[in-house]
């Protein structure tokens, strides 16, 4: 029983770490331009497709697969911001949300036309091994997934909190004009944010597709939504919050399926989210600052 439980916890960590990676992208973009980048799930999907192509058609080594996918998606992320979001920078927030939805639909249907609806099977790009700890079995893929996610998350968090560029990001997210007055190049900072967020999204996509072996045009929708929930649960705009939220959603989801109900699993995840938000209206790590009047 205990073993079974631990096994499920590891499953939860596995999904959770992927959700966390994707959630970071949401949170970063949200933080800086207050936009829920609905297209983020599709960034993740395209990231997975590029990795798939690199790994199958070009037989690239794993580091090259990851690097390639992350780089291409970073560029695409920046391009999306430039074309679709930048013109709406000073428009009402919800208008930009609608373009984001448009971009998401666009990318999804573009993938459908380019890649066709049949799922492609993602090759196992990580060295294959089963690691036994006691009687618990963990596959190397799971360990690598969790490990890679953690490393990137920690690096990113340090980057944002400790470096000048990171501080500039926060400044832009709070008050663009004031940031300009400090000499911050706002456009470049926003582009950088999209690049980082999209690269992490792509990484999440690759890891997701390796874990669940498939790549298909609508694969970004569910994890995208879950990651978005994770970002909100943790306190949107806060990077550590996105990580925490990702792990919590992954864990709750897995344990609910294992011990409560599979049919109601999503409902239960949402239920927990709602309850948490009712008690902590700005997410778990969200600052509960009362508006000063």
């Amino acid at each position: 029983m205990v073993n079974l439980f631990l096994q499920q916890v590891i499953n939860g960590l596995n999904v959770g770490s992927i959700y966390a990676l994707i959630a970071i992208g949401y949170t970063m973009v949200y933080g800086i331009i207050k936009l829920i980048n609905f297209a983020h799930g599709e960034i993740m999907m395209f990231g997975a497709y590029f990795a798939f192509i690199a790994a199958t058609s070009f037989q690239m080594p794993v580091w090259a697969v990851l690097l390639l996918s992350m780089t291409i998606m970073a560029i695409i992320g920046v391009a999306i911001e430039f074309v679709a979001y930048r013109p709406l920078r000073n428009a009402p927030r919800l208008s930009a949300l609608i373009t984001a939805i448009g971009v998401s639909l666009f990318l999804q249907n573009l993938a459908l036309i380019i890649f066709k609806p049949e799922p492609k099977v993602m090759p196992k790009i990580f060295p294959e091994m089963i690691i036994k700890i006691g009687s618990i079995e963990i596959s190397s893929t799971t360990l690598i997934t969790i490990g890679l996610s953690l490393v990137f998350m920690v690096l990113l968090d340090l980057y944002i909190r400790k470096t000048k560029q990171g501080r500039a990001m926060r400044a832009v997210s709070e008050d663009k004009d004031a940031a300009i007055l400090m000499g911050v190049n706002v456009n470049r900072t926003i582009s950088l944010t999209f690049a980082l967020g999209s690269a992490l999204g792509a990484l999440g996509g690759v890891l997701y597709s390796v874990a669940y072996i498939q790549v298909y045009p609508t694969m970004g929708v569910m994890p995208g939504l879950k990651a978005f929930i994770a970002a909100v649960l943790g306190g949107i705009g806060i990077v550590p919050g996105a990580m925490l939220g990702g792990f919590i959603i992954g864990m709750v989801e897995t344990l609910t399926k294992a011990y409560l109900s599979t049919t109601w699993a999503d409902a239960i995840v949402f239920g927990i989210l709602i309850i948490v938000l009712l008690f902590k209206p700005t997410g778990i790590l969200g600052k509960n600052t009362r508006e000063k009047v």
């Binding site: 499953n11 999904v15 459908l112 799922p119 072996i213 569910m222 294992a258 599979t262």
Partner: protein, 358 residues
């Protein structure tokens, strides 16, 4: 509209309805590909009395409202004389009432829900009903595999998966077997480790997983990784699993409409033509879409008219030897005495194993 007065003289227009975008795109686009292939072949062979068959296909996004709009448009704007579709049960049920009141000749290739054809003299279907192959799979498991225990792994919220597994359960229990457990997953789930972990503990002889390739593949893969030794049995949704998931599916069985290694010329020709045209292996949706068009065309030929009532009468009496077996209809419009073929996956190939008639 300009073409709202029935079909013009030189082409015979058929409608096709199914999802080609969104989550269910894979089903609609496969069935559509099969249907288009059939139309192409028919036209190459001279069409219907020299008139070309034109298939106008509309996407439904698997959305019931879209389906109704698509159907209305096919009827009023495009002036089709018959419809192949819908592809999913839900969308077909949404259109059913209007189709019935229009008395439109309809042949759904793949809608498996019982109600689709009930009280609808003009609606037919080419696929088995859920109970039909569920029972066949149960009989095969009990009789041929000699299984006494079975576990069910069901896609909750997926009527196909739920329907087929319910039929399996009834038939399996009737054969004296026992169902040791039922696990389910949601339609968008990708992680099946929790369920499989439990099934492993139940240690059944057979695990019945009626779902489509993209779900079954990962399930089989995970099961193999977890070292589950039970035989996995599935239904026609598995067709295609041999391509990408050959290793994981090795040695398992599913019920299907036809066997890829069948000596039948129709089957072999279809597989060759489809693979050539689309550069991929056909699945059961493609085969059924293909057969549906042939069957409909054959009925139109027999009717000798594009008039609805005569097509329906002809359809009811049609018998077509297609890829998916010999298709003729009972009084409901469902396939009668259709053979269920049991397929074994072996070395990345689908091997004929047995034929079951319920």
């Amino acid at each position: 509209g300009c073409s709202s007065t029935g079909s013009s003289n030189d082409v015979i227009k058929l409608g096709f309805i199914g999802p080609t975008t969104g989550d269910a795109a894979i089903y609609g686009s496969s069935a559509e590909a099969g249907a288009m292939l059939a139309a192409e072949e028919i036209n190459a062979a001279g069409g219907i009395d020299g008139k070309d068959v034109e298939i106008i296909a509309y996407d439904t996004k698997a959305d019931q409202t879209e389906a109704v709009n698509a159907y209305n448009r096919l009827r009023d704007q495009d002036g089709v004389i018959a419809v192949i579709g819908g592809t999913l049960s839900g969308e077909t049920l949404a259109m059913k009432d209007i189709m019935v009141s229009d008395n439109m000749p309809v042949l759904s290739p793949t809608a498996t829900a019982v109600e689709v054809t009930q009280d609808a003299p003009n609606i037919f279907r080419a696929c088995f009903l859920d109970d039909y192959q569920g029972a066949a799979a149960a009989n095969f498991s009990a009789d041929t595999l000699g299984a006494k225990t079975a576990a069910l792994l069901v896609g909750a919220g997926n009527p196909y998966s739920e329907g087929v597994s319910k039929a399996f359960e009834t038939a399996f229990v009737a054969k004296g077997g026992s169902i040791v457990g039922t696990e389910s997953y949601g339609t968008t789930d990708k992680d099946f480790s929790a369920q499989l972990t439990k099934i492993k503990e139940m240690n059944p002889a057979v695990v019945f997983v009626p779902d489509y390739v993209q779900t079954v593949g990962p399930i089989l893969q995970k099961a193999k990784e977890m070292g589950i030794t039970a035989k996995f049995v599935g239904a026609d949704g598995w067709d295609g699993v041999q391509v990408e998931y050959a290793d994981a599916a090795q040695g398992n069985y599913f019920t299907n409409h036809y066997a890829a290694d069948s000596p039948s010329q129709t089957v072999q020709d279809f597989i060759t033509a489809y693979t050539t045209k689309y550069d991929k292996v056909p699945n059961s949706f493609a085969a059924l879409g293909y057969d549906a068009v042939y069957t409909m065309v054959s009925a139109i030929k027999t009717a000798g008219s594009t008039e609805a009532e005569s097509i329906i009468t002809a359809l009811a009496a049609t018998e077509h030897a297609g890829v998916t077996g010999n298709l003729k209809f009972n009084e409901n419009g469902d396939p009668k005495d259709k053979e269920v073929t049991i397929i074994k996956i072996d070395g990345g190939e689908l091997k004929y194993e047995a034929t079951v008639v319920n």
